[in-house]
């Protein structure tokens, strides 16, 4: 088993929480893991990404080579496109379709989405609406996206859910339930 994943978004959107849950589940599975993060100045509303590598064999590089990523998971559609050179030809893009506009020259969103749709394997979701429909707070939108990526992760659905339970346990039952509802919403939306 080997999955190279690029997590993308805008500083503050919560991509590292996605990485934390996948990481927790992967460790429990006894997988090797490497996860390179971005800290510091680039967090201030700029583009952020994390390279997450999972494998049943030892992993050397902290970074994914171009053309090597199995999945791009992005909380922002234009940010998904920024890492296209890293995607394998048959790789997946799982992205929120909702633009995060904090720059004056943000491109036409329809064109952005068309570029994503031009990639053979893609899932585009309005994760905020799905979170709301599932009765989860806006902050759980990132878990909707994670739920949508489960079919491509190579880690079972139940094991990701168990990871969510462990990660959010100290925040109380209500938070765990909301995040699991968000995961399920993304999971079923992605399967359809």
């Amino acid at each position: 088993m080997k999955r190279d994943i690029i997590l993308a978004g805008v500083g503050g959107q919560g991509i590292l929480s996605i990485a934390t849950v996948i990481g927790e589940a992967a460790l429990k599975e006894g997988l090797y893991l490497k996860q390179a993060e971005v800290h510091g100045m680039s967090q201030r509303g700029g583009d952020v990404q994390s390279n997450l590598r999972l494998s049943s064999e030892p992993i050397y590089s902290d970074l994914i080579a171009k053309g090597g990523a199995d999945i791009i998971i992005s909380l922002e559609p234009m940010e998904a496109l920024r890492y296209l050179p890293y995607l394998k030809p048959d790789g997946w893009i799982v992205s929120s379709c909702k633009p995060f506009v904090n720059i004056p020259n943000y491109p036409d969103i329809e064109q952005v989405l068309e570029h994503i749709q031009a990639v053979k394997n893609h899932v585009l979701l309005d994760v905020e609406v799905l979170a709301k429909e599932a009765g989860a707070p806006l902050q759980a939108a990132n878990m909707v996206l994670l739920g949508a990526a489960i079919p491509m992760l190579g880690i079972d659905h139940d094991k990701i859910v168990a990871g969510v339970e462990r990660i959010f346990a100290r925040k109380g039952e209500a938070v765990v339930a909301a995040n699991i509802a968000a995961i399920e919403a993304g999971y079923s939306a992605s399967k359809h």
Binding site: A36, E37, R44, L63, G67, G68, P85, I103, P107
Partner: protein
């Protein structure tokens, strides 16, 4: 026990488990998490615990280095952490600690930032180890980073020298599973050095110490040659050899492992490989590589071409040394799996399968919405525009983003503290008005001495201290002068009536502009403190109070 740790956290846990007594540091990306991890671990221990580890932030890297040397003097193990440019700030103490030597183990961690993700240059700290003539360690992965802390303290105590441990961004900020010891080693007992002359660098004593340091070089090299952390493997085609340092080894192994299924034709997998993670360079291993027939050596190192240059003086001229200087690897920036794989291939790499669509635009970082620096710049820009040629000298922190849209406010930003002294120099040259913008933490780090220069020459400058009560850019660490900035400025000799305080909020815009105008009109040194808590730490504090 197995833990998922950042490289920085592995270093921190490694130091704790090696019997650390104190960490001395100033925050700086990518090194900050080392000290934060130790602080958190101390907090969990509780106040009652014995064997506390000192872990309060220092005012700057120089005071940190000196504090650590003092702790080492008393026989205990001390750690100093900083980003690469912090090495410049502590260089005086660092260089001379190599001359005094140590009593308790002393390890200096420098986190370099090639590609300048969050820095103003990409200087390579290995030069400092060579400059000071002390051993340097450069772990290739998180487990090694953990293990090496124990090794580093042992090495420091057995060789009686400080050790520099150098990491780079991808090591500092990448997580992996790390196996740790079950119980930490005990801290050292308090014990002053037997011979205090070693720590008195009068020329007569210093000459003796320096001679000892020069003599010790052979030992340091031998230690490197015998170290488990330096490994030479003869290849099936030893005419070709590859030398890696630090994490470059990972990119090499990745490329070799992937050779069968990537678009890079790999031609060097039969090459001899010398993996270096300890310096000075292991001469015997390099000699062996040459004796085995190496005709071409490709050097892969993160940062500047330190080893590439050194090797040229160590191997016969008939041996070709390749790397960043020869264009086989990029001259600048961090290594990537792609640049390494490309250097290994004989042909141009096929292009990546998919290009970035042209419509994708940059998304630069920006000051947070609601940040006090924004209101400070809004007022300052308006007052500055009332003059034909106002110059605003910036400094290092979130407020450096004032250089970008929409403010375009600052005209210089060089290094910690330079805003005040450059504004002074510009005023000395005849510039009017001359402004400095500096954060509270940067001011206490390196701005206070410059302000004293201003006072002493009655420089006509307006120093704006944008006080957000924290060290914001690195994530909100304590700031050394919080609550005492007015007293510090007055103590340095700024006249009381020219130390002004404003609250940077849109509703106070007229008042702030008026204060700035008055201080521009004053022919002398003024300080305007714009004080409002960082919006990020405010949110955190409100959340904590709710609980």
């Amino acid at each position: 026990m197995k833990h998922l740790l950042l490289g920085d956290e592995a270093i921190a846990q490694g130091a704790i488990d090696a019997g650390l007594s104190g960490v001395y540091a100033y925050p700086g990306t990518p090194s900050t998490e080392i000290t934060e991890y130790i602080q958190l671990s101390e907090k969990r221990k509780g106040d009652e615990a014995k064997d506390k580890i000192f872990c309060q932030w220092a005012t700057n890297e120089k005071t940190a280095m000196e504090g650590a040397l003092g702790m080492s003097y008393m026989g205990k193990r001390a750690l100093v952490c900083m980003k690469h440019v912090g090495m410049n700030v502590c260089a005086d103490a660092f260089m001379n600690a190599a001359i005094t030597g140590v009593n308790g183990g002393l390890v200096v961690v420098a986190a370099d930032d090639p590609s300048m993700h969050s820095s103003q240059n990409e200087q390579d700290s290995r030069f400092y180890a060579k400059f000071a003539m002390i051993p340097c360690l450069e772990p290739s992965n998180q487990q090694e980073a953990y293990d090496m802390m124990h090794y580093a303290f042992d090495l420091s105590e057995s060789l009686r020298t400080p050790i520099l441990l150098r990491v780079t961004t991808r090591m500092a900020h990448s997580r992996a599973v790390v196996e740790t010891m079950d119980t930490p080693r005990e801290q050292n007992e308090l014990s002053a050095p037997e011979n205090t002359n070693h720590f008195i660098l009068l020329p007569a004593f210093a000459r003796k110490n320096y001679a000892e340091l020069v003599d010790a070089q052979a030992d340091f090299i031998q230690t490197s040659e015998e170290s488990q952390y330096n490994q030479y493997t003869k290849g099936s085609n030893p005419k070709k050899a590859i030398v890696t340092t630090g994490i470059a080894y990972n990119y090499l192994m990745e490329a070799i492992g992937e050779a069968s299924n990537t678009h890079y034709p790999l031609s060097n997998s039969e090459a001899s490989i010398l993996k270096i993670t300890q310096y000075p360079l292991p001469k015997a291993l390099i000699d062996q590589m040459v004796a085995d027939g190496a005709e071409e050596i490709l050097v892969m190192e993160e940062g500047q071409p330190v080893v590439e240059e050194l090797l040229r003086g160590m191997v016969p001229s008939s041996v070709a040394v390749k790397g960043r200087l020869t264009g086989d690897l990029p001259r600048m920036g961090e290594l990537t799996p792609d640049s390494v794989a490309l250097a290994l291939s004989n042909s141009e790499a096929s292009n990546s399968p998919l290009p970035i669509p042209e419509l994708v635009v940059g998304r630069p970082p920006a000051l947070c919405q609601g940040c006090g620096h924004r209101d400070m710049y809004a007022a300052l820009n308006e007052v500055a525009r009332e003059h034909e040629n106002a110059k605003i000298f910036g400094d290092i922190g979130c407020y450096t983003l004032g250089a970008l849209s929409p403010f375009h406010a600052i005209h210089a930003c060089v290094e910690m503290g330079a805003s005040i002294t450059m504004a002074k120099g510009a005023a000395d040259a005849g510039q009017f008005p001359s402004f400095a913008v500096i954060g509270d933490s940067t001011f206490t780090h390196s701005g206070m001495t410059g302000l004293l220069d201003c006072v002493n020459s009655k420089a006509n400058v307006v120093v704006l201290i944008s006080d957000n009560l924290t060290t914001g850019m690195t994530g909100g660490q304590d700031s050394a002068g919080t609550g005492r900035l007015e007293a510090i400025c007055e103590g340095l000799g700024v006249e009381k009536e020219h130390v002004r305080v404003v609250v940077p909020l849109p509703k106070n815009m007229e008042e702030i502009k008026q204060v700035l105008r008055e201080e521009v009109a004053y022919n002398g040194t003024s300080v305007v403190i714009a004080r409002r808590e960082c919006i990020q730490t405010l949110k955190r504090h409100l959340k904590q109070n709710k609980k």
